[in-house]
């Protein structure tokens, strides 16, 4: 199910020059998970993970890159698992049991369930994991 698409890098480079500097955006290490991850299911990938579905409590996503969940993220997530502190986690509903980025581990305070209507992004800012509303003004790393 880990179908990482490996394009021909040379061909891609040519095409990129014709447009603009696409190669700065190009990232071949992303997998698309087209289902909901249920309790006990786990995906580990050397790259980014995009989930078209939910990540339920008890499920686990571990990526060396970013994690994007087009649904509710309620399980355990680890972005930048190899130590990349610039990794981010984005989800429509960001309610993880535990959220890890690189070597930071966080969880929601006890008895608090902050619900947001907008997609949220978690990343490390000034050494602490910060969660904010996600908007298109976010300019990457």
């Amino acid at each position: 199910m880990c179908s990482g698409s490996k394009n021909n890098a040379g061909k891609h480079e040519q095409q990129a020059k014709a447009d603009f500097e696409l190669d700065t955006l190009f990232d071949e290490n992303t997998i698309l998970v087209q289902r909901t991850l249920r309790s006990g299911q786990s995906i580990t990938y050397d790259g980014n993970i995009v989930v078209l579905g939910d990540v339920n409590p008890g499920a686990e996503i571990i990526a060396t890159g970013d994690v994007i969940v087009m649904g509710s993220l309620r399980g355990v997530v680890h972005a930048g698992a190899a130590g990349n502190v610039r990794s981010v986690v984005v989800a429509f509903k960001l309610l993880p049991t535990q959220l890890r980025i690189a070597n930071h581990i966080t969880r929601a305070p006890d008895g608090e369930a902050a619900d947001s209507d907008v997609p949220e992004i978690a990343r490390i800012k000034n050494g602490v994991v910060t969660i904010e509303a996600f908007n298109s003004e976010w300019q990457g790393k």
Binding site: S39, G40, Q41, S42, P57, G58, E60, V76, T97, Q98, I105, R107, A108, D110
Partner: protein, 264 residues
């Protein structure tokens, strides 16, 4: 040197995890140093019942396979000083740990904790064999149903075969009113079949469900009947003589009144 007690039942859904959480919490509330071990790898629940799910980083499989030190996998409870949890793994299965590894883990835990309580998975396969591997004593949980009692009987046989002598029985979810009406097996009916020592009887109680959902074991609830039952069980585990609660009188004011005027 502490003792390792396994909580088992054979049948699922009779309340092993609830019992484990309540006994552990009850012992810790009496200032004992306790660790609860979730042996239900792949279907872990104990962390959820204790409200500690979001603290898990390493688990029993990591500890058994040396991916982390045992100390790193043990989680401290958020309320009680003496209570600890060694969580199960959720993304692996029962074969991820061997009985030999469990024995080692239990031996290690006994050195540091007074009570090591192992929550056994349902069934009689590998998970059960793992859970009982390091145990010194066993508690069998059953409910007043023919199927649960049948499975408890099978488990008692298996425990004896594994040289775990003298298991103790907890009868869970007893409804005194139904027993009285003859619609439910009575304590005596069950003891007659199983013929082992009774450690306690826990009445059916809505508060158990409520507290489980909140992640706060009912044993800490001073007002609840089931909480009292668990507190009694805890004292019996400690070796105290505590008489069985009179569950028949449950039913409150009206019944008490009837008894007063001699209507029984």
């Amino acid at each position: 040197m502490g003792e390792v007690i396994v909580v088992t039942s054979g049948k699922g859904g009779v309340g092993k995890t609830t019992t484990t959480a309540n006994i552990g919490t009850g012992l810790a509330a009496l200032d004992h140093k306790v660790v609860l071990v979730d042996a239900d790898i792949g279907l872990r629940n104990l962390d959820v019942v204790l409200g500690l799910e979001n603290r898990i980083v390493y688990d029993i499989v990591d500890a058994a396979n040396g991916n982390c030190r045992l100390r790193q996998a043990i989680i401290k409870d958020k309320r009680l000083e003496g209570l600890h949890l060694l969580p199960a793994a959720q993304t692996k299965d029962k074969t991820a740990v061997t009985p030999e590894q469990m024995e080692e883990l239990c031996a290690e835990l006994k050195k540091e904790f007074e009570y090591v309580i192992v929550d056994c998975p349902a069934g009689i396969e590998q998970g059960f064999k793992n859970a009982i591997a390091g145990a010194d004593k066993a508690i069998v949980v059953t409910t007043p149903e023919v199927s649960a009692v049948r499975d408890a009987d099978r488990i008692i046989g298996l425990l004896e075969a594994a040289e775990l002598r003298d298991p103790k029985l907890i009868i869970n979810r007893l409804r005194a009113r139904m027993v009285k009406a003859g619609d439910m097996m009575s304590i005596d009916d069950m003891l007659e079949i199983l013929a082992i020592d009774l450690l306690g009887v826990v009445p059916e109680d809505d508060l158990v469900v409520i507290s489980t959902n909140k992640g706060e074991p009912v044993v800490t609830n001073e007002k609840s009947l089931s909480g009292q039952a668990y507190r009694n069980i805890v004292r019996r585990i400690k070796g105290e003589e505590v008489p069985l609660m009179d569950l028949e009188s449950e039913g409150g004011f009206l019944k008490a009144l009837r008894r007063l005027i001699g209507l029984k």
